[in-house]
Symmetry: none
Subunit: 205 residues, 4 copies
């Protein structure tokens, strides 16, 4: 009875709704093509609320990279590779997850959200570039660290340079996802993924 609260006052939830709507909008239409009007409409709020929580479109985009995409990377790459006992297998599993899971949900049609923003905004805005590169860097470091562990444990060949392999894996992953976007076919993605896993297999010690 007491808790009537017709209009809810939940700043964090409002902010979250807008971030998620923005993530989806930018994922579909790009950052420049994305419309704030559409975002607030989907989020069920107003432009006034948006400009209360964010300083502008740019600030909203930055928050999407840091909060939404950063969390996704954490769940998919950083956590699985931390304290891995068999780095190569875990890497292969993460790589295969793209074609195994994401294809079903249809998300792959729009491409990797981070890569999309990277291609579009890195050359145009230094703030975007730094934030995006930070995400990729942490991804590369996580992979390189796992590979180094494998080298130390003897499960990976001694002549393998963890940094270079990590750079190639990340690049290939970006490329494979992009391939799917333009080919609109699973086959090319699957074949490239197979070749990548074969390559990783060849590194086993």
């Amino acid at each position: 009875m007491t808790t009537q609260t017709r209009r809810v006052r939940a700043p964090e939830a409002t902010r979250r709704k807008m971030l998620e709507a923005a993530f989806a909008e930018f994922h579909h239409n790009g950052f420049q093509g994305g419309s704030l009007n559409h975002i607030v409409e989907v989020a069920g709020t107003t432009k006034g609320a948006l400009f209360h929580h964010f300083r502008g479109k740019l600030d909203l985009g930055y928050a999407v990279v840091d909060d939404i995409i950063g969390r996704m990377l954490l769940e998919r790459w950083l956590q699985p590779l931390a304290n891995s006992r068999d780095p190569l297998s875990d890497l292969q599993r993460a790589v295969r997850q793209l074609v195994a899971t994401d294809i079903q949900t249809g998300d792959w049609l729009q491409g990797c959200p981070l890569n999309n923003l990277a291609q579009e905004m890195s050359p145009l805005d230094e703030g975007f570039r730094r934030r995006i590169n930070k995400q990729y860097d942490s991804m590369r470091q996580a992979i390189a660290a796992a590979l180094a562990d494998g080298v130390a444990a003897g499960t990976i060949r001694r002549d393998v340079d963890p940094g270079s392999v990590a750079a190639l894996v990340v690049a290939a992953q970006m490329g494979i996802w992009g391939t799917g976007k333009s080919s609109q076919t699973e086959e090319v993605m699957l074949r490239a993924t197979d070749a990548l896993c074969d390559y990783l297999e060849s590194l086993r010690g």
Copy 2:
């Protein structure tokens, strides 16, 4: 006497100037972010001329993919790999050309023009997607054909699947170029390129 032509009427040259200006504009600002006004300004013509030669922004974008980008791909990938005597070495050379040449000219900062359009427009417009995919397909086929030649000639291991390797090479190349865009550093690109060349080396028969 007949050809006085105070004001030059050169439809093909006009069209070409607009295409090149459009290519540069879309390369820098993306297709959606690119401005027709800016394009005609750079090309030194007017909107009327543009809409005389092209049906609209979309049609202009299609022409950029087909005419400008198609020709670039031909020169860099298709011609060098045709009738190659040593496919792996030629492939490695083409792959290294990105970091060897393009870095000097600064072009890599804006990313691969084709990949940029692929990321941005493939999910949004079917016409773009088909044209872009056609380019990538011809690139993959050229690589696969060269690899198959190598297998037949015995310079490449028999268990190599040309199609899969071609898919990975193209994807990795896309990813490496994208990496450069966001990292703004040559180092990561170089390391990934090295790993890719090592991988190709391991395929030698």
Copy 3:
């Protein structure tokens, strides 16, 4: 018969209509408070046309100062004082015109258009300041030149400094008009005008 022209294509007339609508809008609501939407509505055109003829709001404001206000100053001050045989009387007539004519038409309620823009925009925008100052300078020079003629002809006292008197006349005129705006009464304007004319009379040689 040949000149049917259903939709008239008269760029100069369109530009003129927009300039006059802009002049009125800025006169009533100030430059910052003035609305482009309202201007095009009054002018019977569209925003597209406005942005075709002017680069933006600022450019429109500049054109108002140069074209509209400049012409008004010419008619009211510069031409009457040129080749004047009795500068003091002509000056007094011009000064009295404000209370004699403008009060009837109600224009004085909104203040002097040039002075309004001067007060509002001079400190905020250098382009405005320069254009406004140019108008005032030509007004001061015209008055000073007429006074100098009078001194030379002996109709004005020898110890009169034309430049200083011109500066005072212009300043007083600005102030009198402003006085009317805030007092909303003719009386104060009339009295100040009388005192100004008395002062001018005292300069007679």
Copy 4:
């Protein structure tokens, strides 16, 4: 014990800070162009506090005229002229103060705060007009009263009409300040001030 007040509650000080911030903001950007958000930011408070002390933007503007500007006028014009023994000299001193003092501090660049508001808001809002006119009226009355004293004492010519001269002095003062704003040069202000003082000198009995 009662007065713990970790967060200070000083309503009068808060109100004062907001008034001063508002005065500066309106002085620089005009009333319509001034931003409440900017005002509360400068004042170090919030919109809630502002709307607690004032009913809205208009009410805040009124308070600026009455409290801040009214006090300034009192100090500069009303008090010096009250019970003056030599009204003309005191007037000349007040008039010269503008070019003597304010030019150094740079305040003259933004124009007379009261005149700015008068030009902008008098025609748009009756409440503003009345308050502004009240200030100018008290200024004119103070000058006229001082002049009348001088006439009675014989230090000023008998045929001088104090009301008219006061009206001209106020108007000229407004105009001179405005002149400085648009000319951005001391010279014109100085010359007009000289001419005004000469005029006042000519009234001596």
